[in-house]
Amino acid sequence: MKLHEYQSKQLFAEHGIPIPHGQMTMNASEAKSIAEELGGRVVVKAQVLVGGRGKAGGIRVVNTPDKAEEAATQILGMKIKDLPVRKLLIDEAVDIKTEIYLGITNDRTRRCPVMIASAEGGVEIEEVAKTNPDKIVRVWIDPLLGLRDYQARYLAACTEMPREHWREFMSITKGLFQTFIQTDATLAEINPLVITGDKGLMALDGKIVLDDNGLFRHPELAEMRDLDEEAAEEREARKYGLSYVKLGGEIGCMVNGAGLAMATMDVIHLYGGSPANFLDIGGGASAEKVAAAIQIIIRDPNVKAVLFNIFGGITRGDEVARGILAALEKTPTKLPMVVRLVGTNAEEGRHLLAKADMETAVSLADAAQKAIAAAEAVEES
């Protein structure tokens, strides 16, 4: 789960990291009054959960409250990478001397958090990794021991931090580490961390991604989810405990198991089709869950055909079949459907579905080809 800049910085501030004075708003006239409070010279920043806001014109520095309102109006009218801007952060403008990158994430191979710093702040770290890899310093943090002072000091030394700022910098690294740990984050990033002319170090921009599996420990963070930033389908899927990713193709897929769902997409692609989505109904799915899954799929206007691929194990084929039938009764559709049912109670399931007007398939290849053909037939018609 991604947090907005304004949310991330708020969490940083709670862990002792200095941030600029500022406030989130959803309307331009409030942007003006916030700018007045902050002394006039402010930065107006689009709050959207994608990168590249700066390049898209979503970040503007202005000198007066009136200009702030003007910029706010313009930015609230923008879309950035298809996402409409609904929220703004109005921050005091600060006097930037140096921009540093400071972030922490998990290193899967070493199985521990890694803190990353670079004197090349203000640009994406992946960009620095490509163009200037020796400008990136990493310290790996023992998950049982936590971040140690000497590691923070090493980052300070390697980013050529002026010595008078080491103490501040070390305190910020600790704050960042605490934020990361205490929110169950998988990424916490300050970019840029700036040395200002007059106010010491400050986190100018921030980004936090939370581990969804850790949210049960943090109900207050779970509430920070910005539902407006999600596709309606994703919201619906989460509600029913389904894993769903929209892809944009024509063949809707409902599969039990993440690996099999990916393989189903891959096989559709292999035979020349294009999958509309990834959808894993999980193990032991109930008829209700199956029904919800189908409604999410058929709501997608791109979908021309639906492929059900169910390998019964814990999930029972008859249960799935009943779910499919229930969903179709509730929301009738003309979309062609191909069903492949194998494993536990597959026979019973196939028997139930035989009553509905559905094509069945034995192998995955067979199912994919039938679904593609059906989708083409729909398009041609």
Partner: protein, 287 residues
């Protein structure tokens, strides 16, 4: 005939009195597994499976009373890290964690601790182990595979069943099927399992089922190139997965350009491993 689980397995089920615990314990017993004990805090003293399996409050007391050497975990995700540590501390040598949804930070701590202790963990978020006809620990349906000389190792659940099913249809048997799970931080890796299969005299060929995310398949490719004498064939799921999106499994995500199916297939090819375009082609590659 198998690795990790066999007739010497004396299984303990953590979370045995839950719905899943009870259901799968029955399936494991049906498959011939020796289930010697269960653990559910506050339920010590009860008996399950028609009075055949005693329930204990703690793993330690269960191990002391029954000599269990392997544990399978069905407890909810928020208690699972603790359950793994409890098993390790009680002297269990092989821990199989089925539970999905354990926070990454919990797993980093757990893994670090287990490494110190030299305890083997399979999973979490995995279907477990099946040595067809001998024993099973976990949730892989027992009837979809027959005994034989092919080792299977996989990050996936139903995709693995798909492959087992295809092998069975071609009358090809399996020594052991190891589901290592698709979490970003887990226990036994592809490399660990390949090492076991290479050393197992009853395993002749190996099927590796990977997916996008991380570098485990690349590490496996390097290991195969440098250390394996047995044939390995592979399937990698997620060729069409978009970057930056988690595809169900917590670990199945392409991040910062890393973890693509292409990279993995390329690395495996460089190690002489043929990769199937679809799961059903696997038996053909093993001919």
């Amino acid at each position: 005939m198998s690795i990790l689980v066999d007739k010497s397995t004396k299984l303990l089920v953590q979370g045995i009195t839950g719905r899943e615990g009870l259901f799968h314990t029955a399936r494991m017993i049906e498959h011939g597994t020796s289930v010697v004990a269960g653990v559910t805090p506050q339920k010590g003293g009860e008996w399950v499976m028609g009075g055949k399996v005693p329930v204990f409050d703690t793993v330690k007391s269960a191990v002391e009373a029954t000599g269990s050497n392997t544990s399978v975990i069905f407890v909810p995700s928020r208690f699972a890290a603790d359950a793994i540590l409890e098993a390790a501390d009680a002297g269990i040598a092989l821990i199989v964690c089925i539970t999905e949804g354990i926070p990454v930070q919990d797993m980093m701590k757990v893994r670090r601790y287990l490494d110190q202790m030299g305890v083997r963990l399979v999973g979490p978020n995995c279907p477990g182990l099946l040595s067809p006809g001998t024993a099973k620990v976990g949730i892989i349906p027992g009837d979809i595979a027959i005994a034989g000389n092919i080792g299977v190792v996989s990050k996936s659940g139903t995709l693995t069943y798909e492959v087992l099913h295809a092998l069975k249809q071609n009358e090809m048997g399996v020594s052991t099927c190891v589901g290592i799970g698709g979490d970003p931080i887990n226990g036994t890796s592809f490399v660990d399992t390949l090492e076991l299969f290479e050393a197992d005299p009853h395993t002749e060929k190996i099927v590796l089922i990977g997916e996008i995310g991380g570098k485990d398949e690349e590490l496996a490719a390097a290991y195969i190139r440098d250390h394996m004498t047995k044939q390995v064939v592979a399937f990698i799921a997620g060729k069409t997965a978009p970057p930056g999106k988690r595809m169900g499994h917590a670990g199945a995500i392409i991040e910062g350009g890393e973890g693509t199916a292409e990279d993995k297939i390329k690395a495996l090819a460089a190690a002489g491993v043929m990769t199937a375009d679809q799961p059903e082609e696997i038996p053909g590659l093993l001919q």
